[in-house]
Symmetry: D2
Subunit: 340 residues, 4 copies
C-alpha cells in the first residue's frame, strides 16, 4: 500500500477521459489549441481577476520560470530551507535565473520564520552592489511539512513584500490541498494576499502531468513565452496538457480530489495521535510521525510504502492522495495499533 | 486538411492505449517505473549496443541536454543555419550549456556544407583562448528541408569528428522518417556513423509527448540525470512518457508510421512534380514547393493548411504524417492540378 | 620592431605619471575615489550630455557588461562576423548575458552589410517565441579592418535601431583613432548617431589598463554596478584605473596619441601603396596588405613583428600606435621596397 | 586616520617601482610577457611543487574562476556564511559556475563549524539527482573575522575533502597575513593541507591590483585560460600585473609587509584589551571590538575611519595594513583610552 508520494498515484479517470477526448484529428500546436484558451478563462473565473496562464509539464519548470520572471541573475530568493525550490530541484532556479542566490530560512513546521526573514530583508542593501538584490519571497502552500499558512500569516508576508519591494511567489504544488484546508477562495489565498506568481499544481492531485504558472501581476510577465520556450518547456502537442487542466478545474473536480486526500490524512491522524507522536500539525494531505526503527521496519515488511525523512532515522512521512482508499487507511491504522 | 506540421497530429491509437493501460494503481515516480527500464532494453536491442536513455517530454529538451553533455560553456556548436537548435529554440542550447556559441553553417537542401565546416574546424584553435573551443557537430536527420544525409555523407562527418576531436550529435526529431528513407539499421545511421548523442523523437511520428535523449558514448553521460532535473525536465509520473516510448518501438510501430508518412510525401511529389517546382529532393515526409502567391491564397481559401516558408513568399512546406490519409493527399493533388 | 598590436605598447609617460601621483596615502576603494567622479565630469563635458561611466580594466568586460545591460538571455546581438565581441572574446557576451545569441553578419572592410542586417531584423519576430528577440546592434569603431563608419553610415544604423526598437552599441576599443579619422565631435559619433552604449577604450592608445563603459541611455543602466561586481570587475583600488582615464582625457592627450598613430599608418600606406596591395582602406591606425609568403618570412627574419591574418596566408596586419616612431616606419618602408 | 580597509592603502613603493621598470618598449601581451613566466617559477619555488598560476586583477575573479574550475553548474559550494564568496561578491560564483549553489555554514570566529559541515556532506547524495552535487569546500585564510585556521584544523578539512571526494579551495585574499601568523611554510598551509586551489591575494598587502589563482591539482586546470578570457579577465598589457606579483614575492617583501600589518594589529589589541571587548581572537591584521554607539561616534568625529559591522550597532572592525604606521596606532590607542 502506497503512502510514499502523491507523485506515484494514477491519473484520475475524468482527467484521463479528457485526454482521450482531446485525441481527435489535428489541432494547432504550441499552445494555440482551444483548451489553452479555455483554461485561461477558467482561471480568470476562479481567481476573479486578470491572470496570465502558462501551462507546463512539471512543477520545477513552473517554479523556475516564476523565478526567472521576478528575479534577476544578481538577485536573492528568500524561501524556507526545506522548500522544493531550494532542496529538491538540483539548482533549477539558479539555472533559470542565470545565477540568483537562494537564501534558505529556518522556521517551524515548514513555515518561514517571519522575524528572521524581516531581519534579512532589513539588513539587505546596506552593502550596496557587493551583495545580491533582495528580489522575491517564495512560500510553499501547503508546505513541505504538510502545514498551511493561514490568511493572516500570508498577510504578514504581503506587508513585507510591499515594504521591501520584492515579489511574492507561491509554490502551489499542493495548492488544492491548502485551499480546501483554509476553506477560503482562491483569490483570498493568492493575489488578495499579495501573491504575484503562483505555481499551480495538478499532477499530484490527479492529473497525468499538468501544472501551470499563473501570474497575477503583469509586471512579471515580460517575455513569459520565451522563458518557457528557451527552457525546452513548450510542449508541441499542448492540447494533451491543457485538456487535463480544463478537466481538473471543471465541476470542482480538483476540490473534490483534494478534499478526499485531506480527509484521509486527518482521519489517519485522529486515529493514531494517541499512540504516536505527530511531528507537524496535520493541515493538508501529509502526516509526519515518529516511529522507532524497528516499527518502521515492521511496517515496511508488511508492504506499507512511505519515506523515512532525510536527516532523521525515526521520522516518516505518509502522503494521502486523491487515490488513497479509506480501507487502506484503516488497514494502516490497524497495523500501527498492533505495533504498540 | 492539415499539412502544416506533424506536431498537430493526434496520438496514434496504439500509443494512446498504452498510456491508458499504464494507468493502474501506484507506480514509482521520477523514472523508476518499469517502462523506463523496458525502453532502455528495447533501445539496446534496436541499436545493438550499450546506450544511455533519458526519456523527456520535448525535443528541445533532448537537444539542449545533449549539448550540455558534450559542450562546455566556452565551446562551439557547429550546425546548419536552419537547424532547429539554431533557429527554433529561442536560445535553449545557449541556456543549457551556460553560454556556448552556435556556429550556423550554410549548405544546400538543409545539409551542412562539409567543406565550409572543415575550413572552420581547421582554422579553429589558432587563436587560442581568445576563441571558443570546437566541441560538437550537430546534424539534423532528416533535415529541416526534408532531406536525408546518406550513410556516406554521415561517414564524412565521422571523419571530421575524429580528426578534430569533437562530439557528433544527431537531432532525430524525425529520426524514423530518415531511417525508413535510408532503409538501413538504426545502428548504421547512428553510432556506426560516429554519432555520440541522438535526440530520438517520437512525438511528431505518433506519440503524445515522448522523446528520448540517447547517448552511445559513455564519455558524454556525466551527471546526465542532474542535467535533466535541473532543467525541470524530470517528469514525476514518468510512466506516462515511457509507456508511450515502449509502445512506439513495439512491433515496429514507429517504422510503420514513418513509412506511411514518407509514402504520402513521395506519392504527392510524384503526382505534382510535372506541374510545380520542388525546392528540395523529397526524401522523408516533407515537401517544399514553389507556388505563386495567388495559388497559395487559393489553396488556403479551400481549407488546406500549411506553412509559407519564412523569408520567402512563394515557397510552401507540406508535411505528411502518420495521420495523413491518402484520400486527403489525392484531394490536395487535385486542388493543385486545378490551379494550372 | 613591433607592428603587431597596440596592446603591446608601453604606457604613455603622462599616464604613468598620473598613476604615480595617485599613490599618496589612503583613498576610498571600490569606485568612491575622487578620480572616478572627475572622470565622469570629463565625459559629460566631452560628450556634452548626461552619461553613466563605469571604469573597467578590460575591453571584453566593457563589451560584455554592455550586452548584459541591453540584451536579455533570450536576445539576439547583431554584429560583424569579425567583431571582437564575436570572434575574440571566447563567448564572454554569451556568459554575461546568460546565453544570448550572437548573429554574425558579413560585410566588406569590417563593416556590417546594412541590407543583410535589415533583412534579418525585418524577418525576425515572425516566428514568435521560437526565435530569439532582436535586442542590439553592435558596431566596432574603428572596425577590426582598420576602417571607420562615416557619420552617414552611423545614421543608417540609427534608423534601423529606431525602426526595430533595439539598442545600439559601439565597441570603441579604438574609439580615439576613429574620432580623429572622422574629425567630428565625440557627441556626433555617439549619442547623436543613436549610440546607447559605448565601450570606450584607452589601453591600446596609451593607458596601462583602463577602459570605461559609457551609457548615454538611462534605460540601459539598471543595476549597472551589480553587473560589474558580479563579474568580478569591480577593482578595489580603483583610483589606479580612474587616474589613468583622467590623465588620458586631460589636455586632449588621447586625441594627440591617436592622431600620431593614425598619421603613421597613413604615412606608411602612402609610401607603399604603389608596390603592395592594401586590403582595406586605411582610415585609422591599422594597415592590412598582401605579401607573398616568402616576403613575409623575409620581413620576419629581419625582426619585424606583425600578425599574419587568420584564414589567409598572404595577408598581414600592421598596427601603428601612440608608441610607433616615424624612423621605424621609414625603416619598414625601406625593407618592403627592398623586397621588390 | 584610516583603519577601514587594506583596500584603501597605497601601493608599496617597491611594487610601484617594479611597474615603472616594466614600462620600457613593447612587450608581448595577453600573458606572454616575461614576468608571467617568472612569477610561475617563483611560485614553484615558494610552494615547492608544480603549480598553475593565473594572474588576475581582482580577488572576486580568482575566487569565481576557482569555483568554475572545480564545481559544475549543478554543484554545491560549502563555505562560511560570512565568506566573501557568499556575502560580498554579488553572486559572482553563481555566475561563473553557471548556477552552482552556495551552502552558507555557521561557525564561531569566522571558521566553518566542522561538525555541521560533515553532517551536510554525509546527508548529501541521499536524494540523488534531486539535490545538487557536493563539489567543493572553500575556506577563507585568514578569515573574515581576522582569525586563522591552524594546520590541525586545515587537516580536518583535508580529511573531509578526501572522504567526500570534493575539492578544497582557499580564499587567500589575506594569505600572507595568515602565513605569518602560523609561521609555517606556504606548502604546509596549502597543498600539504589538501588545498587544491588557492586565491592568492596581493592587492590588500601592498600591490596595486594583482592577485593570482594558484592551482595545485592538475585535475582542476581544464581550460583555465578560457575561463579567464570568457569572463573578461585576461588583461592585455599583462606585464603590469605580473611585474607586481614578481616584486611582491621577491626578497620576501610580501612576508615583511604582512608581518608589519599583523604586528600593528597585535600591538593594538594588547594595548586596549583590558578596556574593550575583543570579539574575535586577533590572529592576523584585523581587530573586531565592541564599543558603545557614543564612543563610536566620538572616534569618528576625531577622524578615525573604520567600519561599523553590518547587523550590529556596537561592533567595529579595525584593519591594520602594510601602510599602517605605529604612531597612528598609538594615537588610536590613546583616543580609545580617553573614552574610558
Amino acid at each position: 500500500m502506497n503512502f510514499r508520494s502523491d507523485n506515484e498515484t494514477p491519473v484520475n479517470e475524468t482527467i484521463l477521459r479528457a485526454i482521450i477526448d482531446a485525441n481527435h484529428g489535428f489541432e494547432e500546436s504550441y499552445g494555440y489549441d482551444s483548451y489553452s484558451n479555455l483554461f485561461n478563462k477558467q482561471c480568470q473565473n476562479l481567481f476573479q481577476c486578470w491572470v496570465e496562464t502558462l501551462p507546463l509539464a512539471t512543477g520545477t519548470a513552473a517554479n523556475s520560470i516564476a523565478m526567472a520572471l521576478c528575479c534577476p541573475p544578481y538577485g536573492a530568493i528568500f524561501c524556507h530551507e526545506s522548500a522544493h525550490l531550494n532542496a529538491d530541484e538540483c539548482g533549477a532556479p539558479e539555472m533559470f535565473t542565470g545565477g540568483a542566490k537562494l537564501i534558505p530560512l529556518p522556521g517551524q513546521h515548514g513555515k518561514i520564520d517571519v522575524d528572521i526573514l524581516e531581519k534579512k530583508l532589513a539588513s539587505s542593501g546596506r552593502h550596496g552592489e557587493h551583495e545580491v538584490l533582495s528580489s522575491v519571497i517564495s512560500l510553499t502552500q501547503s508546505t513541505e511539512a504538510g502545514t498551511v499558512y493561514t490568511l493572516d500569516e500570508l498577510k504578514t508576508f504581503k506587508k513585507l513584500k510591499e515594504k521591501y519591494q520584492v515579489a511574492l511567489h507561491m509554490d502551489g504544488a499542493r495548492f488544492a490541498n491548502a485551499l480546501v484546508s483554509l476553506n477560503c477562495t482562491a483569490a483570498e489565498m493568492t493575489w488578495q494576499s499579495g501573491i504575484d506568481l503562483l505555481s499551480f499544481g495538478a499532477t499530484k492531485n490527479g492529473a497525468m502531468m499538468a501544472e501551470s504558472l499563473l501570474v497575477f501581476n503583469p509586471k512579471y510577465t515580460t517575455q513569459i513565452l520565451r522563458h518557457r520556450k528557451r527552457s525546452g518547456h513548450l510542449i508541441s502537442k499542448m492540447r494533451y496538457i491543457t485538456s487535463q487542466l480544463v478537466a481538473y478545474l471543471n465541476d470542482d473536480l480538483w476540490i473534490k480530489l483534494a478534499r478526499h486526500a485531506n480527509e484521509q490524512a486527518h482521519y489517519f491522524a485522529t486515529q493514531v495521535e494517541s499512540q504516536i507522536e505527530l511531528i507537524h500539525p496535520v493541515e493538508a494531505n501529509e502526516v509526519f510521525c515518529r516511529l522507532s526503527t524497528s516499527k518502521i521496519l515492521s511496517l515496511k515488511a508488511q508492504g506499507y510504502e512511505f519515506h523515512v525523512w532525510p536527516d532523521s532515522d525515526d521520522i516518516i512521512r505518509l502522503v494521502f492522495s486523491h487515490a488513497t482508499e479509506r480501507k487502506d487507511v484503516n488497514q494502516l491504522v490497524k497495523a500501527i495499533e498492533l505495533l504498540y
